[in-house]
């Protein structure tokens, strides 16, 4: 590089750096202006916001609050130096100042018109010091960045100048070298002449040789040249070379320049590219390699040229094929190994490296045994060696070991590679990693047989094992017990605490069951909360008894789920092979029937199957079947039981009670059909029917009464899960033109058990609607006081089971007395259910119980009868 150019480069750099500095400075200033504008906008917004709030306070004449607000706003906002609120008469109503002297300040003010004739002015002074400081830091950063760029550019310029100088040096040296080469070629001239003469002898060799004169006209050809070009010498002689020697480029298939012109113009030897194709006179194509050289006389004059070429078509094809094959094998996703006949590895492809973790260089020359994991049985290897040493191929699945020690499954195919003479020269092993498939197969097999939640055998495997047990028992003349276990009230837990809790409970229950049986016995999950336990090798049917008792005992301890203690019991039904059936399905069905019997016996117990049980199960199924559509068919109707105010003996309300008369089943007991309605969810439409029907008649009865008259309706826990509960109650009330005060909703503690917030919300909403909430069946559940205190109950209904014995059972009497006192202390009205005698009534009256309900006054009766009763009491 010249001194001038060096100067140019450094001048250029200086201009660039100056431009950068100027534009950076411009950018910095614009950015600063922008920040200030944003700050001003924000301040205006903030002032507007403050003034709106101050305005509201001034309108309310709460000056103190306006002052406090301004002070607290100022204190909370560090950037604000001062906020001043001045009234029309110039009085400073509020003045917040942080007593700081900011260098840079922004002052905004706004007028607040807070009544027709009152106006105040709000001034806001904000400190801009922070922004100025930040921009100072930003400037430093920019300068630092600029310095770094300047340094880098200077270094680059310096390097470029240096490299350019070196290049110049190299060019000078090259020129010297070429000159030297030229001298060398001249000294070889004599040698070249003899070589030209020698070329004529090439007639006998396999290369084609053509010579031309200085004009490029053919002077001679050897026989091979005749063959390749398809031109006999006599035809070709004196023809321009390019007519005879037609060459095209392989990929573009365009004619290539004749080497003659080039050699003649340059006087040098010209080599054709590797992709040259010679078109013979008859159209045959040959891949050729050739060279053209000048024939010289004396020192300089070129007499002609000699063209030497040979056919490389075959070699080219072989090379192509080998390259393709090699690439295919190398890039194949399947692992390939090639060994010599002694099983020393000669080649592995990339897939092999990937699957084994070994690099090719680590295994070349080694025996493939290095992959052995020891987990594949020895006879598989024997079989493999036998096959391949007999010259046959072998395939199978091997467990191999990777370099990192991990084992994996490989599907392996080994074949001998023989040469033309049938001698084994290599072995070829092709392998595929099938670990994933193997793992999935195992998993699918497990999933097909085991329950995903509890990992217990599922229905399929359980029944399969039962079949095996039956076969064994048949051979050995033994008995098999099939235990059908169902968790009691599990559905309620699912409904009230959610499926997550239910699932955790199932896992824990499965664990307890599994730990309780002998190791050979099967515990399986049939689905839901149903489990099966199979006990084989029994001598007597009673042998199952201690096992089932232990199982039930295991449920005595509370289950701790999510820091909540839950008591869960189970009902078990037992069927015995061969007495109760000889097929798995029959045994299972009969154990199921026995389980239902246990449920009816009060749960938490077990029953052996007897023939009559099947009939009970079928009744339940019939009830379920008949209940569908019963509402549309008008089979449900309501009865009403009066509630009596003990002091006045007036009927002050009724409780609506659901009844069902079905053409197939006759009158069905509510205790029998209501649980089924809850389980099937039919309770929601049925409950809606009860509400509509009972409220429909309420106003008619209210008109017959001189005092307050309320309709009490029972709500089941299931109904609370209905999102439309509140709206449907509102609709029923408005349809019958009643206010909430006319309705009392009776709920049991079961509703509150879950503690869900939506229950609390629903109860509060109902209470706000004026509806009285009544705690039903008090004393039979948790009897929790916290429920009574934390939910808005108005009424407490003492369960009939306590009232029944208050005359004879001191404990019951004390309980009722205490319950009444407690209810009163909480401000609740008390209703005694199931009052049947005058004595009971007197005792309740003496304790201050307000309301009674029971057969002593009236059993549940039809609506007409209630109308009669009310009319009668009205006229008396």
């Amino acid at each position: 590089m010249t001194r001038k150019n060096t100067l140019k480069a450094w001048t250029g750099l200086t201009i660039i750096l100056l431009t950068l500095l100027l534009s950076g400075w411009q950018f910095f200033n614009k950015h600063f202006q922008y920040e200030l504008e944003i700050e001003a906008k924000n301040s205006t917004k903030e002032l507007t916001f403050i003034s709106d709030l101050v305005k509201k306070r001034l309108q309310k004449k709460d000056y103190q609050l306006a002052q406090d607000f301004i002070t607290s706003w100022g204190e909370r906002t560090p950037d604000i130096d001062e906020i001043i609120l001045v009234t029309t008469n110039g009085y400073e109503l509020a003045h917040y100042s942080n007593n700081k002297e900011s260098k840079h300040r922004l002052t905004e003010e706004v007028d607040i018109q807070y009544s027709y004739d009152r106006m105040a002015k709000l001034k806001l002074r904000k400190s801009l010091d922070n922004i100025y400081r930040q921009h100072q830091y930003f400037l430093y950063e920019l300068l630092a960045g600029y310095c770094i760029i300047a340094l880098i550019l200077s270094y680059m310029t310096h390097t470029i100048v240096r490299i350019e100088k070196q290049k110049q040096q190299i060019i000078i040296e090259n020129e010297k070298r070429i000159l030297a080469e030229k001298e060398l070629s001249e000294t070889n001239k004599i040698l070249q002449e003899s070589e030209q003469n020698l070329a004529i002898t090439l007639n006998s060799i396999g290369d084609g040789v053509i010579t031309t004169d200085a004009k490029g006209l053919i002077t001679s050809m050897n026989p091979m040249a005749e063959k390749f070009t398809g031109w006999p010498l006599e035809d070709a002689i004196d023809k321009p070379l390019k007519d005879v020697f037609c060459i095209i480029e392989e990929s573009t298939r365009k004619p290539m320049d004749s080497p003659v012109d080039k050699v003649l113009s340059t006087g040098e030897i010209v080599f054709l590219s590797n992709h040259t194709i010679l078109l013979s006179r008859n159209g045959t194509e040959y891949h050729i390699a050739d060279s053209a050289a000048p024939i010289r006389e004396g020192d300089n004059d070129i007499l002609g040229i000699v063209l030497v070429f040979n056919d490389v078509t075959e070699r080219k094809h072989s090379e192509e094929k080998i390259r393709t094959l090699f690439q295919a094998i190398e890039q194949s996703p399947i692992s390939v190994t090639i060994t010599d006949p002694d099983a020393n590895i000669e080649y592995v492809n990339h897939a092999f490296e990937k699957s084994t973790g070994y690099q090719a260089s680590e295994v070349i020359g080694k025996n493939p045994k290095i992959l052995k994991s020891g987990k594949t049985s020895e006879h598989i290897y024997n079989e493999m060696w036998q096959a391949i040493s007999n010259g046959n191929s072998w395939n199978g699945e091997l467990i191999n070991r990777r370099k990192n020690g991990e084992t994996f499954w490989e599907s392996t195919n080994i074949a001998p590679v023989v040469d033309d003479f049938g001698i084994v020269r290599h072995y070829l092993a092709v392998r595929e990693d099938i670990s994933l498939r193997k793992h999935q197969e195992e998993k699918i097999l497990h999933q097909a047989h085991f329950d995903a939640l509890t990992d217990l055998p599922n229905r399929f495997l359980s029944l399969d094992r039962l079949t095996q047990l039956i076969n064994e028992a048949e051979r050995n003349r033994e008995l098999v017990a099939v235990l059908f276990l169902d968790l009691d009230d599990f559905k309620k837990i699912n409904d009230s605490l959610g499926h997550d809790t239910g699932d955790k409970l199932l896992v824990e229950a499965a664990d307890r069951l599994h730990n309780e049986v002998r190791s050979g016995d099967t515990v399986g999950r049939l689905g839901g909360d149903e489990f099966i336990i199979l006990l084989g090798g029994l001598t007597h049917a009673t042998d199952a008894q201690p096992v089932v008792e232990n199982l039930l005992n295991r449920f005595r301890d509370a289950f701790k789920i999510d820091e909540r203690e839950l008591i869960l019991t189970a009902s078990v039904g037992i069927a015995i092979y061969p007495d109760d059936g000889d097929s798995p399905s029959e045994l299972l069905r009969n154990a199921d029937s026995a389980m239902y019997h246990s449920k009816e016996q009060g749960r938490n117990t077990y029953s052996y199957f007897t023939e009559t049980m099947n009939q009970d199960v079928s009744r339940r199924l019939i009830i379920e079947e008949q209940m569908h559509g019963a509402l549309d068919r008008g089979e449900f109707y309501l009865c009403y039981q009066p509630k009596i105010e003990i002091q006045s003996r007036n009927i002050i309300g009724v409780e609506a009670l659901l009844r069902w008369n079905n053409p197939v089943l006759g009158n069905v007991n509510p205790d029998e059909f209501i649980p089924i309605a809850e389980q099937t969810g039919l309770i929601v439409p049925i409950g809606q029917y009860v509400l509509n029907e009972s409220l429909n008649i309420t106003s008619q009865w209210q008109q017959l009464c001189r005092h307050k008259f309320t309709m009490a309706v029972n709500l089941s826990p299931r109904q609370f899960r209905d999102p439309n509960l509140i709206t449907s109650i509102e609709a029923a009330l408005s349809k019958s033109e009643l206010s909430g005060e006319s309705l009392e909703l009776e709920i049991t503690e079961g509703v509150l058990l879950s503690g869900h917030s939506y229950i609390h919300k629903a109860l509060t909403t109902l209470n706000n609607m004026g509806i009285d909430l009544s705690m039903d069946d008090f004393g039979t559940g948790y009897s929790s006081l916290s429920y009574l205190r934390s939910y808005p109950f108005k009424v407490l209904k003492i369960d009939r089971s306590f009232i029944a014995d208050i005359i004879i059972d001191i404990a019951d009497r004390e309980l009722v007395n205490a319950a009444i006192a407690m209810a009163h202390s909480l401000g609740l009205t008390v209703v005694a259910e199931g009052v049947e005698t005058e004595e009971q009534l007197k005792l309740l009256a003496s304790q201050g119980c307000e309301i009674a309900q029971g057969y002593y006054f009236s059993k549940p009766v039809s609506a007409d009868k209630i109308t009669e009763l009310l009319t009668a009491s009205n006229s008396s």
Binding site: L58, K61, D62, Y63, Q64, Q67, T87, T88, N89, Y91, L93, S115, R118, A120, D488, D489, K492, I493, L566, I567, L568, T569, R603, N604, L753, G779, T780, G781, Y782, S783, L785, S801, F802, A811, D812, E814, L815, A818, A819, A821, M822, S825, L826
Partner: protein
Amino acid sequence: MVKILSGKKVTNLIPSLLIITLLLIPSLHKHANADNNLILAVHPYLPAEELKKKFTPLANYLSNQTGMKIIVKIGSSYDEHIQYIGQDKVDIAYMGPASYVTMTNQFGSKPLLARLEINSNPWFQGNIITRNDSDINTLEDLKGKHIAFGDPNSTMSYIIPHYMLTKAGVFTDPLTKHQFLYSHNNVALGVLSGDFDAGAVKPEVFRKFEAKGLHTVALTPKISEHLFITRSNLPVKNIEKLRHAMLNIKYSDEGMIALTTIKKSITGLVKTSDNDYENLRKIIIESQQSK
């Protein structure tokens, strides 16, 4: 079964649980003197917990001096407070002058123990204020003006000033307007800001804002301070003990700490008679009649 207690099987447990619970429920409805403790009732002029803290030292001091256990209870409303002492349901009551007068009008007289002395003065006067730049010099000048009051139940910021303004004929002018601002501070600020021409405040508030440009147009009559009374059927010797302890409280360091806990400016408790509240009674009765 999910239920922990099932049916009647565990009836032995439930009664005992219920009875224990019953004992734990506090009862306000029983007679005040059921457990030999004396109840010092205070009206809810601040949050209940704060008042308990303020009055408990005094209750403890009086307990020590008289040998009778005294506990503090806070009424749920001013009205409940008046009803409870009126019906002798609490033993000792701390009352504001207006509440006292209302109570005696309804239930007759009760034994008086002592009244507060604030900065050595058992009387206090409210101020009817205006701005220094206004041309109002007498109460009559307030005709047709805009007047700010505090709370409609407040003695100093409404009842008495309103009585005085009515007397001065200010409300005969249909242009006279007034508005309740529910705090003494707001009244002073309202006048200063020019939204109101005048207002009525207690003396502490007047002093606080005086320098900002306020002056007094008129002072209210002197009203006797807050006082302690007892139920009418408390045994005479107990009344004597309490009164003696109260009137001598200023001689005890412990007693003065108890008093200043209630209010910093209290300097003692002094003798009082129903006569001290006669002028306020007259005002309240006349105000009620004029309504």
